[in-house]
């Protein structure tokens, strides 16, 4: 079955994205190293957020397992980095996360709402603590060195993962597979009664999103050069994409991209200069967005385009 056949197209959106990517691709040619490194981190957050939104956006299953998939990629890179070529390490990082997500998905996607959220968070923490225990008890040393890679290479690899993630998110959204995911998010019981195998659809989407997180982790490890379970499985990697996506709005593809880009940029700027104000500002903005802008910044833009902030439906 041609599950990924495109239902419709938007040429302007495509053209604009293409231009931005060309710009990003040529950037290292005329800017100094430090901004390139910052930009790599920003793109990393976008990758995690966009791939998080592939699954959690349409289905509304809030996953807090991003750190698990990212961290697995980081560790794959640390373990295999010396033995294998970089592209292979990154693909393996993605694939291992993909397989891990398939297993977790089949186990947990029967759970809904709060139970799913807590379980996915628990999985990340379990892996982190297990690795910490393993390294402390079994290996005697915590943490590993990772083979360093030139910062421009890291940048380009991250950019390539970003392009693939974005393209995948776009194809999923525009395909019948995306419609199935959306139906599940709207009304899961009804979705199964119109012939959608919800378990399979959810698990595949979950695994697809994990692939990009794992790949991003694998390349990011080479920039950090030293990693341990606390760095690789930092719970912030689970929480940030959720907040960034909610801030941007998950209704449209550019929502998570925009949310992640803006917040990651703030982080880069503020965390070095005013580390305390960063989290303060972040928290305040999140409260405002959740209270007043349930559809994120993108929802706000769409509302304005539709003509003012007036209410459209008397009985929502």
């Amino acid at each position: 079955m041609d599950l990924f056949r495109i239902i419709s197209k938007k040429p302007i959106f495509f053209g604009l994205s293409f231009l931005i990517i060309i710009l990003l691709a040529t950037l290292p040619l005329y800017i100094p190293p430090y901004p390139v490194i910052s930009l790599t981190s920003i793109i990393m957050y976008i990758v995690i957020t966009v791939s998080w939104a592939i699954f959690s956006g349409p289905t509304r299953y809030i996953s807090l397992a991003s750190a698990a998939f990212f961290g697995v990629g980081v560790y794959i890179s640390a373990v295999l980095g010396q033995a294998l070529l970089l592209p292979i390490v990154i693909v393996i990082g993605g694939l291992v996360s993909f397989i891990l997500a398939l297993c977790i998905g089949l186990l947990t996607l029967r759970l809904r709402g709060m139970y799913f959220i807590i379980f996915t968070f628990g999985i990340s923490e379990l892996i982190r603590n297990f690795l910490l225990w393993w390294e402390t008890k079994m290996m005697g040393t915590v943490g590993r060195w990772v083979v360093a890679v030139d910062h421009v290479v890291v940048y380009y690899v991250m950019l390539a993962i970003f392009v693939f993630a974005l393209l995948t998110a776009y194809l999923v959204k525009r395909s019948r597979f995306g419609l199935a995911l959306q139906s599940i998010g709207e009304q899961e019981e009804a979705a199964t009664h119109i012939g959608i195998n919800a378990t399979v659809v959810k698990t595949i989407a979950f695994a697809m999103s994990a692939f990009f997180m794992g790949a991003a982790g694998a390349i990011m490890a080479t920039r950090w050069t030293y990693i341990d379970p606390k760095i690789a499985f930092n719970p912030l990697f689970s929480f940030m994409p959720v907040l960034m996506a909610i801030f941007g709005g998950t209704g449209q593809l550019y929502g998570p991209v925009f949310g992640a880009a803006l917040f990651a940029y703030f982080e880069e700027i503020l965390i070095t200069k005013f580390p305390y104000y960063y989290m303060l500002l972040f928290g305040s903005i999140m409260i405002v967005v959740i209270l007043f802008l349930p559809h994120g910044m993108v929802g706000l833009v769409q509302k304005w385009r539709k003509g003012g902030m007036r209410r459209q439906n008397a009985n929502p």
Partner: protein, 239 residues
């Protein structure tokens, strides 16, 4: 020909027998009503047939083949569609997308997107919702929601439609329209199994009626037989 039959179908919720040893059979082309007081187990029986709930005991066969134990999506693809009592539409999607999703995924054989789009359009015309195709399902008034439930179920190309109170909460004009819709559905060759409380509709449309009470089948027969049955009048219809 028997399209659907149940043998000693039973569902326990803890100590409560919501459906108890119910035998039933529906022939191809029939319109069969399922009535009974609130809590009689009507929707539970639908949930057992459509696979939403596992049966405690008994067997349900569709076109001679056992379907108990199958998942809802598998039962749907075999040709059994259902609507939901409390309209469970894809609220944030358009009316058209609601029907489109059902056309795309509801059949065993894969269907191309243009074909599914054409089918979805036809079905919206069939239930007279084509003018509101671009509206979000959540913005529809109740009568339209019920019709969209029917359209979405029919989009899966069923041979058997199970409709769960599609006439509840409608005004007389809307009711007449809903009754006409059921008749039109039957004229397409689709067998209809319907839960309904609106007696006028049940008595007019159904070939046969099954009555449930406290999970037990207490009567079965033509509308005339049911209307004059002593037991049914006592437990449900009232004097």
């Amino acid at each position: 020909m028997r399209i659907l039959e149940g043998e000693k179908v039973t569902k326990h919720f803890g100590g409560l027998a919501a459906v108890n040893n119910v035998d039933f059979a529906i022939d191809q082309g029939e319109v069969v009503g399922l009535i009974g007081p609130n809590g009689a187990g009507k929707t539970t029986l639908f949930n057992l047939i459509s696979g939403s709930l596992p049966t405690t005991a008994g067997e349900i066969r569709y076109k001679g083949k056992k379907i108990t134990g199958l998942k809802p999506h598998q039962i749907c693809k075999k040709g059994v569609a259902r609507t939901f009592q409390s309209a469970k539409l894809f609220a944030g999607m358009t009316v058209f997308e609601n029907a489109l999703a059902a056309s795309l995924f509801g059949t065993k054989r894969a269907i191309s997107v243009p074909d599914a789009e054409r089918e979805a359009k036809e079905l919206l015309e069939f239930v007279e919702l084509s003018t509101v195709g671009a509206m979000l399902a959540k913005d529809l008034p109740i009568a339209h929601r019920k019709r969209l439930e029917v359209a979405r179920a029919l989009a899966t190309k069923p041979d058997l439609l199970m409709s769960d109170e599609v006439m509840a909460g409608l005004n007389p004009a809307e009711l007449a329209h809903a009754m006409e819709l059921i008749t039109k559905t039957r004229n397409k060759g689709i067998t209809v199994f319907m839960i309904e409380h609106v007696m006028k509709a049940i008595m007019n449309i159904c070939d046969r009626i099954i009555v449930l009470h406290h999970g037990n089948k207490i009567a079965e027969g033509t509308p005339e037989e049911i209307a004059t049955s002593r037991t049914v009048v006592e437990v449900y219809l009232g004097e």
